[in-house]
Amino acid sequence: MKFGIVVFPGTWSDVDCKYAVGDILQQPFEYLWHKNNEDLSRFDCVILPGGFSYGDYLRAGAIASLSPIMASIDTFARKGGLVLGICNGFQILCESGLLPGVLMRNDHLQFRCEWTNLKVENTVTPFTADCCDGQVLRVPISHGEGNYFADENTLHELESENRIIFRYCSVDGLVTDESNPNGSVNNIAGIVNSKGNILGMMPHPERCCESLMGGIDGLEIFQSIIRSIAVV
């Protein structure tokens, strides 16, 4: 099991992802530099971490989506490799077309850093295999542009193929307007591609992998990935 952690100029949760995966979960990892278009077959899972790649200039994730490493990730994903895009990573995946839809500015136009509750809607994915159906994970968000939007057809496809993995919800798992922190359509917090090997999510699981940080629900996601790879 080996993780790759991509670093763009302006990425900042690379180190947090490294701490979660390498220090807490004791998994092998390597940082991947954005300028390299390289063979990623030595990895099982590549993480696109959060941050402000290229300062989010133009649009969040837009410039990073054109960098050499993204061509490598495209190839890696086609061969079935797991890709986890967190926050800015989710934005980059949408910009590069690996995931459908867009992430717009939060509906209230402000940055938000706070804990959210996520309802796990599909446990038959490598990213959620350790979760129970309907389980509520407590995971923080930290973004200004996390307002997920997609057209009717795409949404219909996502819903019918069960590709919406996480929805913002209340503590009791109710998907309500009050629990939606950014205006995302259908309370979407995370989706997968049609093959199910690319997950994009706005919340930060790497920030809640120790009780010292106020919660450990992020471990469910990383441990799901590790166990899924072990099973294969």
């Binding site: 989010d56 940055f111 010292l212």
Partner: protein, 733 residues
């Protein structure tokens, strides 16, 4: 005075006397560039002309202090395990008054580079903010702009914003205070210095292109009062947080590679101040060719290049043979850079534009401005306000419960979640205690069991009525805050925000606030390791309230031994440490939020007993460390009832009081007597804390029990948490 007129001197904030002194020292009249450089370096902002003689009064030595204040760009403190914590607070008041978003944003950027200049990784930000009342649309604009700018810059660079304070007073209308504090962590053997090393070393300018922004920022904005705000907007810099983030990584990598001799940030007065300061400290000279500087726009004059305050720039000093290695490192990060000159031995700064000489000045003269030691005096207005007979103030028409709700809803006390949730407080995954739940933020130190705690404090109302005691209380409160989470205060940084020091009443405030800070530091045995002074904070000829802001750094041996302010468990006993009874003596209302809000009066004279304060804090720390208390919260703005309400609201548990009051209920519930901490204690531990209190000579009193869904003080207050929460969270819009 033949070659220069008064307008020119005004623009660069030099006095006629200073000009004559320059001419006399040089033996000739300076040219325009040379005069501009003097204006910048002899400004209050860079030269500390009025404050330097006073700042010497602050104790700055300590076992953990790695070098004296002023030697490097920030203070550094040894926390063991070969690690140093670097920290400093700095103001960006005047730029924020003119362009709040960019002013505040570049304030954050600037303080981060101070930390970076020591080779440290910035690990947290705090900010201490003051605004005029928000019912004035201009203050709304300033408030939203400042918060937006801090959020925009801090979030983008991946440094968590973990705390600070916000207060409002009409004196800050049009002159908000924006004080930013940054903390960094570095291995002691990797600490960078601001030295320039030997002759021949290269001066490498790294980062953003130099443009025409921010010229006269130090002399024009920071060092005098001003009214023509819109026309001064070009003197405010524009930030690029993305470039700052890249600069952070590139500088840390460069320093870690071992090829960097010295590092210096570029802040106020740009290249001029940065180069002159570091060359001065090393006793060297320097040759600069401004035609080598990478520019944002063509045809900039040497004057513009030397005084530009373009952001996101650093100076790295290297040996010539390492130029290629540095070039490789910087190209990895696609950072522009230029080799702009070299270190010399002649003690002068010689500036060339290609082959043409543009300036030639002695470094020593430039860096040793005329200092002023003035005479201050207490204003009669304050003298009268102090003597006001507090006992003659009538009880309010409102009930105690109504007053409590009113205070909780007031701008200075209410919940600031709507502000701090716009800041990323968790990135870098070290934030163990985030904003809103305790008196100080706590960050763990990865790879150890240790943690640090951080808090800023400064009550301007106290300082207005008595700057000496106000200065002492600022230190006491900042230290009390870190003690409440269980940390030992080990160092302070201060930001002294005052009006025009040439007014005797302002100079009096500055002098006595510094003396008060110094006194408290000596009693608590905590040094001031860094700081900043911001004078000339005035609007329409009136100075702001004197506002010294103190940032405290606390040390925690074991991160597990910490607590927050919220009540944790039904049935816990609630005690107050620092007093043996709930006194309703009228004098406790001095300078209180209650008097201001309900009686519209800023009167009385605050008091503090520093020795008692020191014992109370020590008791609290031991009680937290030993797990005797489950929560700790200091009594500050709004007094006892507000402190209890906050512990209820954060913990989601009620309180049932069982204590008697001597004297007035308003003074007892809302008075702001210092040196008091409210703790909740498991029933089986009550004996232990009492024993400890007796052994440490700290008075205490029993207040009641945690439990239920109401805050009840028999015969006075009975309010549900829901009601209290509605008042507390009404927030900012």
């Amino acid at each position: 005075m033949s070659l220069v007129n008064k307008e020119t001197l005004d623009e660069i904030a030099l006095t006629v006397e200073e000009y004559h002194l320059i001419v006399e020292t040089l033996g000739r009249t300076p040219n325009a560039l040379e005069l501009g450089m003097f204006g910048a370096l002899w400004s209050e902002h860079c030269g500390y002309q009025h404050s330097k003689p006073l700042l010497k009064l602050l104790p700055s030595k300590g076992d953990r202090v790695l070098f004296p204040p002023g030697q490097e760009n920030a203070g550094a403190v040894d926390i063991g395990d070969g690690l140093a914590v670097v920290f400093k607070i700095e103001s960006h008041n005047h730029p924020s008054a003119i362009e709040p978003f960019q002013g505040a944003a570049t304030g954050v950027g600037g303080i981060v580079r101070d930390i970076l200049a020591l080779g440290a990784r910035p690990m947290a930000l705090l900010n201490s903010l003051r605004f005029g009342p928000l019912d004035d649309p201009n203050n709304q604009y300033l408030f939203k702009g400042v918060v937006g700018g801090i959020s925009w810059y801090g979030n983008c660079i991946g440094v968590p914003d973990v705390g600070g304070e916000i207060a409002f007073d009409s004196g800050y209308s049009g002159n908000p205070l924006v004080n930013a504090l940054c903390v960094g962590l570095v291995a002691i053997d990797k600490l960078a210095k601001s030295t320039v090393g030997e002759d021949g070393n290269l001066i490498i300018l790294v980062g953003s292109e130099t443009g025409r922004d921010g010229i006269h920022g130090a002399s024009g904005l920071a060092s005098r009062t001003f009214e023509l705000q819109e026309s001064m907007r070009p003197a405010v810099q524009v930030g690029n947080p993305f470039l700052e983030k890249v600069l952070i990584e590139a500088c840390i990598e460069s320093v870690a590679s071992g090829i960097v001799v010295g590092v210096q940030d570029l802040g106020a007065a740009g290249l001029t101040s940065s180069i002159v300061e570091s060359v001065y400290k090393s006793g060297k000279g320097v040759y600069i060719d401004v035609s080598k500087v990478h520019l944002r726009e063509p045809n900039m004059s040497p004057y513009e290049v030397m005084l530009s305050e373009s952001q996101e720039r650093m100076i790295l000093i290297i040996k010539p043979e390492n130029k290629n290695r540095l070039a490789d490192l910087l190209s990895k990060w696609d950072l522009p850079w230029s080799d702009i000159g070299k270190v010399t031995s002649d003690g002068r700064i010689k500036i060339y534009d290609g082959k043409q000489k543009a300036a030639d000045l002695p470094i020593k003269t430039l860096n040793e401005p005329k200092l002023y030691r003035l005479k201050g005096n207490l204003s009669s207005e304050v003298e009268q306000a102090r003597l006001y007979p507090l006992s003659s103030i009538p009880l309010p028409d409102s009930s105690p419960g109504e007053v409590l709700r009113g205070l909780l809803a007031s701008r200075n006390i209410n919940n600031k979640e709507q502000v701090y949730r716009q800041y990323d407080s968790q990135v870098q995954t070290n934030t163990v205690i985030a904003p809103g739940v305790a008196d100080a933020a706590v960050l763990r130190i990865k790879g150890t069991n240790k943690a640090i705690a951080l808090s800023t404090d400064g009550n301007a109302n106290y300082c207005y009525l008595d700057p000496y005691r106000g200065g002492m209380i600022a230190v006491a409160e900042a230290c009390r805050n870190v003690s409440c989470v269980g940390a030992q205060p080990i160092a302070l940084t201060d930001c002294l925000n005052f009006g025009d020091p040439t007014r005797p009443e302002v100079y009096f405030e500055l002098e006595w606030a510094i003396k008060g800070i110094a006194k408290a530091c000596r009693v608590f045995n905590v040094p001031v390791v860094s700081g900043n002074v911001s004078l000339y904070n005035e609007t329409r000829g009136k100075a702001i309230l004197p506002t010294p802001v103190v940032g405290a750094l606390g040390y925690m041996e074991n991160v597990a031994h910490r607590t927050t302010m919220g009540f944790k468990s039904e049935g816990d006993a609630v005690l107050i440490l620092g007093t043996s009874r709930v006194s309703g003596a009228a004098k406790s209302m001095a300078a209180s939020e209650y008097l201001i809000l309900y009686h519209n009066m800023l009167v009385g004279r605050p008091e503090i007993d520093l020795k008692l304060e020191s014992r109370v804090q020590a008791l609290c720390r031991i009680a937290v460390r030993d797990g005797i208390v489950r929560s700790a919260h200091d009594v500050s703005n709004g007094g006892l009832a507000v402190a209890i309400a906050e512990s209820c609201l954060v913990g989601g548990l009620g309180f049932s009081g069982d204590f008697s009051i001597s004297g007035r209920w308003d003074a007892a519930l809302f008075g702001e007597t210092q040196s008091r901490i409210i703790v909740s204690v498991p029933p089986q531990m009550v004996g232990a804390i009492q024993k400890l209190a007796v052994s440490m000579d700290v008075p205490w009193a029993y207040l009641g029990l945690v439990g239920g869904k109401n805050l009840i003080i028999e015969g006075l207050i009975d309010l549900s948490l829901k009601q209290l929460g509605e008042s507390w969270k009404n927030g900012f819009h």
